[in-house]
Subunit: 253 residues, 2 copies
């Protein structure tokens, strides 16, 4: 179950709301998700083709009633994507020794399995570091800073993540490997996937997204987006003569 | 409170996760939010600068413990954005008469106020319709369809939304007015903000986003993104010598 961590910014409406996260089209949902990160969860409650008549019974189900408050959503999928900061070298306060990094990921898997056994866990390996770009970025700061990440060290943390996933039988997205292949195994060419040598740009995220969907397809097909039914009906599937009957949906157990 | 409507796809990690919805950079979070719309809520649990050592106590709080399951998140803000489909003309099954549309929006406001009095409600008016583009879109379909929305009708639904917001003392984003001004009050020029004459593109959403942030700033400044504190500390604010003390956060009441 997903715990109560952040409050919610809910966007309720029709396709203009539902489509507000579409790739390449910087919608209002995407912008709000960005500026409210770590503050509020921005929830998409947009229903393509719906009018207010069909929307009202949906809203009735989206705003908790007193007896609803004992329910929390299941976490169907959880990605765990660390390593980029753990792999910082000393004396960075972000550095975590490799053995401790492995133990921490193990503890995370154990915690989720014990408390939320229905969750599909997917580890993601940290991306490669382009130390040429990272060094330039840090040297340009005021005051200039020394290089804090090494190519080989970051690779070791990514490799350990892959090994751990295999040992524990959880899914893994090898972002490091996919990005390294994509840039022709040449550190300088990683610039096409990461502006600052550490964070991913649109092309970098695209590579990881397709790897993630591949892992979901192969390993956890029940949660592939095409396999999941929409919670509330598509507007053409509503019983237009008697909409209430099709618009009240019993929550899955 | 936000009801249990959809299960969750949780992305847990560092800045590479946190930044995965950044505008103009089509991140993995944005893509997942898009493909899982109406199926799973994709939650951003990315913490810039965090390593696994600091991440573990966060995960411990993000996965519900048995006694957590009585809690659900507060809805701090709710936008209600309808009218684009209600304003369809007969014989469209999406058509809702203007008086009924107004009654439905009133019922939505009442429902939220009664059940979730802490929620800031913001109505958004439907965008203008570019009937030139909409007509061409519908005529190009197989079989061709007749025009289903009229410029003046859509404006009447937008005007009614504004009036209702004023009467009920809730916030309103006049998307219709802002977009109409942006396109120089010329229907054909709305093409720059909407490809199909109905849905918004990136430029259209940008206009509405800035209007929404303006309404939040002026009317509900407590929920402006810059006024909200991050739920968990920024990594430079963690007590590095004794991280647990700063990483366990008591949920606000």
């Amino acid at each position: 179950m997903s715990a109560y961590v952040q409050d919610v910014f809910m966007l309720f409406g029709d396709s203009i709301t539902q489509g507000a996260w579409a790739p390449g089209d910087t919608g209002i949902g995407q912008r709000l998700s960005h500026v409210y990160a770590r503050k509020l969860d921005v929830l998409n409650r947009g229903y393509s083709g719906y009018n207010t008549e069909w929307g009202l019974p949906i809203l009735d189900q989206c705003i908790a009633k007193p007896h609803d408050t004992v329910r929390t959503p299941k976490i169907k999928v959880l990605t765990i994507w660390f390593g980029a900061n753990d792999a910082c070298i000393k004396p960075s306060p972000q550095h975590v020794p490799l053995e401790r990094f492995i133990a921490n990921l193990q503890a995370m898997i154990t915690l989720v399995r014990e408390r939320s056994p229905e969750t599909h866990i997917i580890l993601i390996t940290a991306p490669p570091v382009n130390t040429i770009a990272r060094k330039a970025d840090l040297e340009a700061r005021d005051p200039p800073q020394a290089l804090d990440r090494l190519f080989a060290t970051s690779k070791a943390y990514a490799d350990a993540t892959k090994t751990l996933a295999a040992e524990h039988g959880v899914g893994v997205v090898d972002a490091w490997g996919a990005l390294w292949t994509a840039c022709g195994e040449e550190e300088a060419k990683f610039a096409a996937f990461s502006g600052d040598g550490l964070h991913l740009n649109a092309r970098g995220y695209e590579v990881v997204y397709h790897e993630l969907i591949k892992v979901i397809s192969e390993r956890y097909p029940d949660v592939h987006p095409d396999k999941l039914e929409s919670v509330f009906p598509l507007w053409k599937d509503i019983d237009w003569a008697s909409p209430q009957s099709s618009l009240y949906v019993s929550r899955r157990e």
